[in-house]
Amino acid sequence: MNDILKIGGKEITNRLFIGTGKFGDFGLMKQALEIAAAQVVTVALRRVNLEDKTDNILEYIPKNCTIMVNTSGARDCDEAVRIARLARGADRGNWIKLEAIPDNKYLMPDNEETLRAVEILAKEGFMVFPYMNPDLIMARKMRDAGAAAIMPLGSPIGTNRGFKTQEIVRMIIKEIDLPIIVDAGLALPSHLAECMESGCAAVLVNTAIATAKDPIALAKAFSYAVQAGRLAYLSAGNDLSDQARASSPLTGFLRQD
């Protein structure tokens, strides 16, 4: 099936985006990215540890992958914009996963600061992927400000709690004509399938794969789940119902009445 996702000026076919944090080693990460045939991969930008001369992570990311630099560490609009510009200065394309997170306990994004940063960065030609606490009105404002996609959280980062924001995200999917990518908190194939069945354009997973007992096998499982969920979304067309609906015919019963 020819199911292409047009996003950020590119055409991709793999709807499982993978984050590169927390992997035990880069070799393992590379194998996980390869087995999932990842096409979109996130990285972060940090101060170089002046004593540490570890390997360059970019060398372990397959060449066909689009790199999306996140603005993690930014607490507000100004910090996020600064990181985005630095990422572009490092010549890594213009895809930015925009995060502005002032809260350390739940890592909840500040939607207002994020919106301000979308406005600035979109005008500067970035492909902006804002990470947001799902809210329809805010998603609409981010779209109007030039976001390339919307990335609502499924549950707080690293919690593995799954697609808890489903009701609101479904609303956003229905109303916002941009790719909707659920990001954060997804940890099981069923979580990913649920997102894709709901009509998400893609999902982004990091912690669950990186910290798995076997990241390579789990990456493969996640890849199947995303494909299954997507295919079901495109083909099923079933609604929820409050009432039972018989699957066998209600005629020709072997009974007297």
Binding site: G19, T20, K22, V43, A44, L45, L50, N56, A87, G89
Partner: protein, 65 residues
């Protein structure tokens, strides 16, 4: 002179950003350098003179979600 490098005050003897990067042993292909909040491309490093109290950030990509 004293500059602030990645948040830490350092006493340095070199005069340009290019010399500083070389002294610290960084591969320019993998770092991005900010000098007083301005991004300095690789080809301009040796032409960027350092002054007292300059703020320099040297950053690189790491794993992140």
């Amino acid at each position: 002179m004293q500059v602030k490098l990645n948040g830490k005050v350092e006493d340095i003897k070199v005069k340009t950003l290019g010399e500083l990067v070389k002294l610290k042993g960084f591969n320019c292909a993998r770092v991005v350098i900010e000098h007083n909040l301005k991004i300095i491309p690789e080809e301009k490093l040796s032409g960027t003179r350092l002054e007292e109290n300059d703020v320099i950030e040297i950053l690189a990509f790491i794993g992140g979600g």
